[in-house]
Assembly symmetry: none
Homo-oligomer: 259 residues x 2
């Protein structure tokens, strides 16, 4: 799917922005860059520097005289736009756009163009009216003009997420949370018994006046979902603590235990 997506930049005036767009595209797995009548050099110290290793996209970029030429082979063309223009047009959010891409990209030969305008003035009405739909990135109403590469970054990010969702085994990030087996219920209960015994030994807890102490500690640890290895550490701490408490008990410092 990602190889069916083309980023089209019209009338860009800063080489740094073109480089930053190349970097954002390559980060998100896009590679097809088309430039319409750029108002600056494309291969330039600034664009190479900002591309930060994605400069092959700059070298491979095709230069076109007008939008028509850049999107001639595309089956779905979407223009980035500020809010509503004089003539209302089908408008999608970046997320809605991305959700449509898997089906837009399915037919063989299909190709999607995502078109971004000039830094100072965006796309003209004539250009917008050559698009199937417009995409608008939600912004602060008082400060709505995104940097060109930032706009491409947001749209390309949504495209990547939509593509990841189509992969049968989307990489799961949340599974990174643990590197060991979670403790079982029985392990945890043994831990709570050990904890209570230790708290009594260090004279922090009086089972005759329990208040909410053990309940609060249970809630805390059950919320944390400890792993086996973490529980082993916690029990090791309890054992070391008990050892200190036992030594204290056998010393004259604490004669009550001899009575």
């Amino acid at each position: 799917m990602l190889d069916r997506l083309r980023i089209v930049l019209i009338g860009t005036s800063h080489p740094g922005n073109i480089g930053a767009v190349a970097r954002a595209m390559h980060n998100m797995g896009l590679s097809d860059l088309a430039l319409v009548a750029p108002r600056c050099e494309v291969i330039h110290q600034e664009s190479i520097s900002r591309a930060s290793g994605a400069d092959h996209l700059l070298h491979n970029a095709r230069i076109h005289a007008d939008l028509e030429d850049a999107v001639a082979d595309c089956t779905f063309t979407v223009g980035a736009s500020a809010r509503s223009r004089t003539l209302p047009w089908p408008m999608v959010s970046p997320r809605e756009l991305a959700e449509r891409l898997p089906s837009e990209c399915q037919p063989s030969g299909s190709r999607v163009a995502l078109v971004f305008g000039r830094e100072d003035s965006g796309l003209t009405n004539a250009e917008l009216q050559r698009c199937n739909a417009h995409v608008h990135i939600p912004t602060n109403a008082d400060f709505s003009s995104l940097n060109l590469a930032a706009a491409v970054q947001v749209v390309a990010y949504e495209c990547r997420l939509a593509w990841l969702a189509t992969q049968t085994q989307a990489p799961e990030l949340s599974s990174d949370e643990h590197d060991d087996t979670l403790a079982t219920h029985a392990d945890l209960e043994r831990y709570f018994e050990h904890l209570e015994r230790t708290l009594v030994a260090i004279e922090f807890h009086d089972p005759a006046k329990p208040r909410q102490l053990m309940a609060r500690l249970r809630r805390l640890y059950l919320r944390a979902r400890p792993e086996q290895i973490e529980l082993n550490i916690l029990r090791g701490i309890l054992t070391a603590t008990e050892k200190q408490a036992a030594r204290t008990k056998t010393t004259p410092d604490n004669p009550s235990t001899h009575e």
Copy 2:
């Protein structure tokens, strides 16, 4: 909600990136920028130029000597991270992070820090281990390093969408999970110091041979998101434990301390 979010940049070396971050933040409606030990001038021709009208964020940015100081008052701290580190940590996608924000920002006094590292080397393991969770932006595996401002743009965009969703829906009641204020970052760091001191006192921990002990304990407690009252209990346990250890040290059972 957006006014509860702080963007923290650590060790940034290019003024242009700081300016571009300010622009991305203001575009998305964020305004609280904190800079930790910047390795460049903050108010600079390049940063002003790239901020493109959002330079009040640069002038209002607070400069801190270290991460501790920048997030001391925060109740939820999330660090931007590449994929796996030696010790896996709770990991969320930008979207999962954003979906958590409305409830994270609901309690009065809550404040969320989104922490981004150096252009060349990201966040250190020590910095990452001060975070409740890590956020990873899905990228091309062969070219995974996003520009700093691009990373902030993506995360801030997701924050804005999550905020917009709260504007159109009935405000969601937060879960019953907590009945007290969450501990702040500074409270937790004091707890970790106290914990380490106590583990040394009971001879469970040798700072000369740290292994992963403190990192694993940090991960466990940061994952649990302790409340103030829970942290008070945990610190009470440490104090009681220290008292036992101190009594042991003054007895003939342990003559080494008299040498």
